[in-house]
Amino acid sequence: MINEKVAEPAAASNKPANTSPRVVKDAVIRLAGNSQDGIQAIGGFLARLAGRTDKDVMTYMTIPATISGGPSIFQVRLGTGEVLSAGDEVDLLVAFYQHSYRDHIDTLRDDGILLYDTDQVKPEASTKRMRAIGVPITSRTIEAIGGTAKDKGKNMFVLGLLARMFDLDVPKLEQMLTAYYKGKGEDVARNVLLAFHAGYGYSLTETFAFRPATTRTTRGQVVTDGNQAVVYGALAAGVRFGGGYPITPSSTIMEILRQELPKYGGLFVQAEDELAAVAMTCGASYAGYTALTCTSGPGVSLKSEALGWAVMAEIPMVLVDVQRGGPATGLPTNVEQSDLNIARYGSHGDSPRIVIAPCSVEDCFYTTIEAVNLARAYSCPVIVLSDQALATRVETWERPDFKKCVQDISPNFATRGPNFKPYDNAGDGIAHHAPPGTPIADGKYPVVTGLEHDEYGHPAARPANHAMMVAKRRRKLKLLESKLPPPEMHGPNEGNVLLVGWGSTRGPIQEAVDRARAAGESVSAVHLRYLMPLQPGIKEIMEAFNHVFVVELNDEGMYGYGQLAGILRASFCDARIRGINKTDGLPFKVREILERMHQMIKETKNPVLA
């Protein structure tokens, strides 16, 4: 945050602001207006700019839950050096309207800066220590580009103000603006620049400069949201068919794939419903093209039957679940990590499958590639647990090395057999299918089925056969487990408190660890990327700490622990495993994690008997 980085302590007080730019490591900027004001665009340009200037960025946006407009915010955290979370407290609040001021002033940290439109906002008496800067945003924009266009222009005026305040790279910004708006027509592009310069020209007393960063990447950085990262991960992995049905917040995966796949010789089908979407995904995978389906919320429940079929038939395929608030229709535009149980247990019968979760936007890219490869290597469906926060958040990440990660997974039609057994029980127990079009040497062709079957795929109700096949489907996951890397630690391998996390909460958890350690506490974190099967060494890691708290965005359940915690307790029978959970539909704040952690430590007399 800004004042941590302030050169002279004085700044923390309320004395008249100085004019020389102060050097900062990062800044959390919240733009609060209405969804029509295009504040998303401001955030987008700031993020893109950051990407091009070796700054890191993490954004956090709320999508209005209602259909028609309404209040909306966009929060961007710009920094040099890895930015882990969107930031708890706001360093700079830009308030477009009175309601923006009212609803968000509390998020401003002490001594933070309030930038408000004097034409719209009358700051109310507030005990908060802050530096309030009024700018006639509306009227100045009107001056710059005329009244009619003003609504389109205010965001650009503010972008100009921010460029001035943070000494951003103006030529680069101008490039981006013209590149982006020229499509929309000459006059639009002109107005955009007029408004931008009017803002940049406005003289501000408060200015900052980001501490120069040492370039960390050779290939440079890119800026995407999580769903885009999933899409391009799938394309790089060689996926050429997808089936889906629209549902928030997963829809953009389908929408972008629908547009991109044809260029790659593939296609994406918007099915009539989720049942058809997953069925055609099974079909394409059976045909030799390991395929992907994506959904959220209710769609996950609807796909559980076919997922079970893929487990039984041992067909590789990938389901990307962009988790949202549940149950039922729940909270479509909020984040939750409450689909872990259904991902592991969501089909009838014993139906073991692979479950993995990305921990950042960048990781969405690599996790999707890995999902495709695990599905193929183990002839098993793989569920990728992303979530609404990852999906809609824009982050900068190192541009991938496509020469390395792009792969061709087109089918192998080489003759198989003789005596070809797709479900051969010998060895590792992994099925090896021959897609249709594959000749079988002895002319005895296999069948792929959801009935219990013999090694050739033909129905077999013999008691011993079912027991054997159940064990076979389990055995291959044991093999995978044995090959998994130990989980990633953040902080020392032993100490007082271990925070366990999975998925999108990694950032805030690691930042919590950093803060706690900075404050002299003995706290580490371990992040689980593989949720079925689990990685080796977790038990040992936990045993090296006094307290084990599993941090999850899901319900603490009837006994005070969440979904991953329940799985870990079942696996390791360690009663110290407890949960730090919340279900308010928002990502964890670093503060929330630390407060809950301190409280639970206090409550624990003897952790072993806890």
């Binding site: 296609l267 079909g283 093209y289 000749p439």
Partner: protein, 306 residues
């Protein structure tokens, strides 16, 4: 893949063992159907047709849902899938769209097609996905032992309608015509030659072809289709000679005939299949991106992201 698929077109892919095969090369498990079940004849016609047409053995692909009739793929010694109840058409869509080198056959019952699978059937039809769907209609649920099916006639006594069915049944032909299917035929498993004729026409159709084939369940609805079976004193009424198969309204009118109704080709038009349309889209997009390889495409895209 549409692209890749072009690398293995029917002609090139003559496999090691695809020398001319006979019916008996296609025989797999002995069917578990009851003696006299109408499904036997459809199976043997499928064998006969494949023998005649010599589709390369490794390209024969049969997909089914769940039901007595849906056990079909087990009895065919060729690539086959036994999927989920009602979802066979959706599964076959995934196969068809990724594999232009195959012509997928789907087999299943009336419950599979019109009850749980009714929506998939309709959308597969309107999207005109290339495949042939043979609906083996016995007007009853066989595998689950005699419940009412959407095609069971009013008054039919079943375990779920002990006093006789009261729900107005689905009219398969009307449904398929209204859905926009491009090839719609009706046949009767007791008339093998007719079934064979319809199957061959269907197989040659460039799009979604569907045949409702009455197939008697001797166990739970014996004699259901005698009234259309000459050998049982019934009258087999072929589609009138003058019928214009491109006339939707005329086809609908035929479908309105009382049971046992007409048999033959009700409707047949040529509308580009989704397979063809998606193929065009691919060609266009690849042209626009002048056939750039995946790596190039991704690099270009990521230039925009940086």
């Amino acid at each position: 893949m549409m692209a890749e698929a072009k690398n293995v077109p029917v002609e090139q892919a003559k496999p090691a063992d695809s020398s001319r095969y006979t019916k008996k090369d296609l025989v797999a498990d002995h069917p578990t159907w009851c003696p006299g079940c109408g499904d036997f004849s459809i199976l043997s016609i499928y064998f006969k047709m494949m023998e005649k047409r010599q589709v390369p053995h490794e390209k024969i692909t049969s997909v089914a849902g769940i039901g007595c009739s849906s056990r079909f793929p087990y009895f065919v010694n060729a690539h086959g899938v036994h999927f989920l109840h009602g979802r066979a058409a959706a599964f076959a869509t995934g196969v068809s769209l990724t594999r232009p080198d195959l012509h997928v056959f789907v087999f299943g019952g009336d419950g599979d097609a019109f009850s749980i699978g009714g929506n998939h059937l309709e959308h597969t039809a309107r999207k005109n996905i290339k495949m042939t769907y043979v609906i083996m209609d016995n007007e009853v649920y066989g595998l689950t032992k005699k419940q009412t099916s959407p095609t069971s006639p009013l008054g039919f006594k079943s375990k779920t309608d002990p006093t006789g069915a009261i729900d107005y049944p689905v009219n398969p032909m009307k449904k398929l015509i209204a859905a926009g299917a491009t090839f719609i035929a009706r046949s009767h498993s007791h008339l093998p030659n007719h079934v064979m004729e319809m199957m061959e026409l269907a197989m040659d159709h460039e799009g979604f072809s569907v045949i409702e084939c009455l197939s008697e369940c001797t166990e739970f609805y014996p004699g259901a289709f005698d009234s259309a079976n000459p050998r049982k004193g019934g009258v087999f009424q072929p589609v009138p000679a003058g019928h214009d198969v491109t006339d939707e309204l005329a086809a609908y009118k035929l479908a309105m005939a009382p049971f046992p109704g007409y048999f033959g080709l009700f409707y047949h038009v040529n509308r580009p299949s989704k397979n063809a349309l998606e193929g065009q889209l691919i060609t266009e997009m690849k042209k626009r991106t002048n056939n750039a390889a995946p790596v190039e495409l991704l690099e270009k895209t990521f230039d925009r992201f940086s």
